[in-house]
């Protein structure tokens, strides 16, 4: 795990290359504190910051050159099946100089060319320069665990693990992309390749880019796919499916414990991280360390379940308690790491937990992320099912009561009449054949926060609809999938890489040089789960049914039967104390007016409402965090050029 940076083209004079790579690498030092290196050639530069995890020797340092010296690689990530791939290459007569997975990747390229990436089981963002053909290959893992951004300037491509490294490129100017802001304020994430920065793109997950002669071709090498309705896989007994699932999950966890450093595990107290921790504990009896977040606000706290699980596993357990104010104090650094506005504070506690991990000497941690996407754990899946159920009897006053059942933690919903419950969730009003049916209420509720956009920004965005852009990007076969699979696709293909794995994942833990690994996102498991019949995943309103069955014997019943509690953190209330004192200045009317993105008067009223402790609804909380994080983004990345000034300059 590491950070990479580089360029391809004639925009950098050979004598300037090393200095540029050093500056770019310096911005990525948190990702790779264990070493740095660079390779500069005519029209090419590769830089690397190293977090040593596998083969800690200098023999595994990067960029690494091939035996012939013509091919160089800078690589961020881990290939968990590298031992098997290495054996395959040895059988083909290849010899190795190191024990690292990097050399395996390099030799796979030599042996198979760019399509070698389909052989990798892992999380990676890589750059390979082939001096023989003067061709650069960039590639990113299937689900988007590891980030990779790029920026074109004067025919030269610059790329890096994080955008802050690209800001070291001479002539780079940071300006917020209004369409990205609209997407974040609707979908929670920019739609790749778009980023919050107007002139920076992201290589989408499961894509490779080949740059040759100043031209780039980007193409997917893998796609998430589900069976077409009516073309279902042969039916299998549920017990058989659970057994195969269990075997795959155990293997996915086993190979993710490959490291020459200690591997810990997150433990939220829910089903997913408990399962991963239980399997990992069996692999490392008596040695596994688990790490949990607790909150001093009981509405968010799960420590009782975490303690139950840690005691059952006998792990060495460490708890970080997030107190009022901790989120506010960390939030500016969190925005700097995320490099984008965000509508929730949830990444901040994970940033703090990663800091604790690193302080405890850990570099690698297992995570249960991904299970909710591939086994249908999120509320949005159950909500869509209830909405369809209501739509079949639009006048029913009984059916809407089910909405209360899935949102026990939203007090205001518990007090609503069935008529309003139905109305809030659009039950009966939405079109069941709408490709975004499952997510419409969420997108609409989130987009309500755009009320706070300035008159100028609204005018600039007039006619643009982020949800429609998302709908237009869906693959042709999407319409032939089961509704649950359609909803899973939306979560897995967009929100998972765009928010969960990035803003709340890689960026938070790598801020402290900690690498997270996700057994549920092993592509064998992702592909297997996609072919499991919907009713085995969401049985009535019981989420992750097949996963519960597969892991029942590993967990105490109190954990395996526990309904999902979504990971949430206190939102605007986090900024009420002295640690949030900076909010007043950032959201002050003159500053908001000068920056030009939000309505100064409306923002003032929102800030007043915050001051009274009266922000309670989803929209207002999202707007508050969204405006605050955007203002922090502007100060951090475009501080010298408020939007109005930069627009005039252009």
């Amino acid at each position: 795990m590491c950070g990479i940076a580089g360029y391809c083209g004639d925009g950098v004079a050979p004598q300037d290359g090393a200095a540029l790579l050093w500056r770019m690498g310096r911005e990525l030092a948190h990702r790779g504190p264990d070493g740095q290196g660079s390779h500069v050639g005519r029209g090419i530069g590769l830089g690397h910051r190293r977090l040593a995890v596998i083969d800690l020797s200098e023999g595994a340092a990067q960029p690494m050159a091939s035996a012939c010296g013509a091919i160089h690689i800078a690589y961020n990530g881990e290939v968990f099946n590298y031992l098997e791939l290495r054996a395959e290459l040895v059988a083909r007569g290849r010899r190795f100089r190191s024990e690292s997975d990097t050399e395996v990747v390099l030799q796979l390229y030599e042996e198979f060319g760019p399509d070698f990436v389909t052989k990798l089981n892992g999380d990676f963002a890589l750059a390979i320069w082939d001096g023989r053909s003067r061709r650069l290959l960039l590639a990113r893992d299937r689900v988007g665990v590891r980030p990779l951004f790029y920026h074109w300037q004067g025919g030269t491509l610059y790329f890096a693990s994080e955008i802050k490294a690209l800001m070291q490129v001479p002539g780079f100017s940071a300006e917020i992309d209004p369409l990205a802001l609209d997407q974040i304020f609707t979908l929670w994430t920019p739609l790749a390749p778009r980023t919050a920065f107007k002139n920076v793109n992201e290589l989408p997950p499961a894509h490779m880019m080949i740059v040759e002669g100043g031209h780039a071709v980007t193409r997917p090498y893998w796609a998430l796919d589900f069976p077409a309705l009516g073309d279902d896989p042969p039916s299998r007994a549920e017990g058989d499916v659970a057994e195969e699932l269990r075997a795959l999950l155990e293997d996915a966890t086993r190979i993710r414990m490959r490291a020459d450093v200690e591997v810990g595990s997150f433990l939220s107290g829910g089903l997913d991280s408990s399962l991963i921790s239980a399997i990992a504990a069996r692999q490392a009896p008596g040695r596994l360390r688990t790490f949990s977040l607790a909150f001093d606000d009981p509405a968010f706290d799960e420590s009782r379940h975490q303690e139950t699980m840690a005691a059952a596993l006998g792990t060495r357990h460490d708890v970080l308690t997030c107190r009022a104010g901790d989120i506010a104090a960390a939030f500016p650094a969190v925005v700097r790491q995320m490099e984008r506005p965000v509508l929730r504070t949830a990444p901040a506690p994970l940033y703090l937990l990663a800091q604790r991990l690193r302080g405890e000497g850990l570099k690698v941690v297992l995570s249960g992320e991904g299970a909710d996407e591939i086994f249908a754990g999120y509320d949005v899946f159950r909500e869509a099912r209830i909405r369809r159920f209501c739509a079949r009897q639009p006048g029913s006053t009984l059916r809407p009561h089910l909405f209360r059942k899935i949102y026990p933690y939203i007090a205001s919903l518990q007090q609503q009449t069935p008529e309003y419950l139905a109305a809030f969730f659009g039950a009966g009003a939405d079109r069941p054949d709408d490709p975004l049916f499952s997510h419409r209420p969420r997108f609409r509720a989130t987009a309500g926060a755009k009320l706070f956009f300035s008159r100028e920004l609204k005018a600039e965005l007039a006619g643009y609809d982020a949800a429609e852009e998302l709908a237009a990007s869906l693959p042709a076969e999407f319409s032939r999938w089961h509704p649950l699979h359609q909803a899973q696709y939306l979560e897995t293909r967009f929100l998972l890489p765009g928010y969960i794995l990035s803003a709340q994942g890689d960026r938070m833990v790598m801020a402290h040089g900690v690498e997270s690994r996700f057994p549920f996102l092993d592509h064998r498991l992702v592909e297997f789960a996609a072919r499991i019949p919907p009713e085995m995943k969401l049985r009535g309103l019981r989420e992750k049914h097949i996963l519960r069955r597969a892991g029942a014997d590993l967990l105490p019943a109190a954990i395996s039967e526990r309904p999902k509690q979504p990971y949430r953190a206190p939102e605007s209330v986090s900024f009420s104390g002295p640690d949030g004192a900076y909010v007043e200045a950032l959201m002050a009317t003159p500053r908001i007016a000068e920056d030009g993105l939000f309505n100064p008067q409306a923002t003032r009223k929102l800030l007043d409402k915050h001051g009274r402790g009266a922000i309670a609804g989803f929209r207002d909380a999202a707007a508050f965090v969204g405006i605050l994080s955007t203002q922090l983004w502007l100060r951090e990345f475009a501080g010298a050029a408020p939007r109005k000034q930069s627009a005039q300059a252009v």
């Binding site: 007090q415 609503q416 008529e419 309003y420 109305a423 809030f424 923002t603 309670a616 929209r619």
Partner: protein
């Protein structure tokens, strides 16, 4: 229905759900839910406002879109409730 009631309701909605945004074209008949102006918290805020400002009692069963989903509907609901109150008082 008297216009001041409409006006009071409008002012509450503009102030609390539109945060003073005067640009928003808020017709008296427009659905507050379909335009995403109120959520489940907002409805409870609205009910609290109606009870205090117009001195009416809103029963749980009254909290339905037919009564509260537009300025016109809210105003008619307030008028009915006031009428009920006067009949009871008489």
């Amino acid at each position: 229905m008297s216009e001041p009631v409409h006006q009071h309701i409008r002012e509450f909605i503009v102030e609390n759900f539109l945060f003073g945004d005067d640009d928003y074209e808020l017709d008296n008949g427009v659905s507050l839910i379909e335009t995403d102006l109120v959520d489940s918290t907002g409805i409870l805020e609205l009910v609290s406002f109606l009870e205090e400002r117009f001195e009416i009692a809103v029963a749980d069963a009254d909290i339905v879109p037919a009564n509260l989903d537009s300025i016109d509907r809210i105003a008619a609901f307030v008028a009915r409730k006031r009428g009920e109150g006067q009949r009871l008082a008489g």
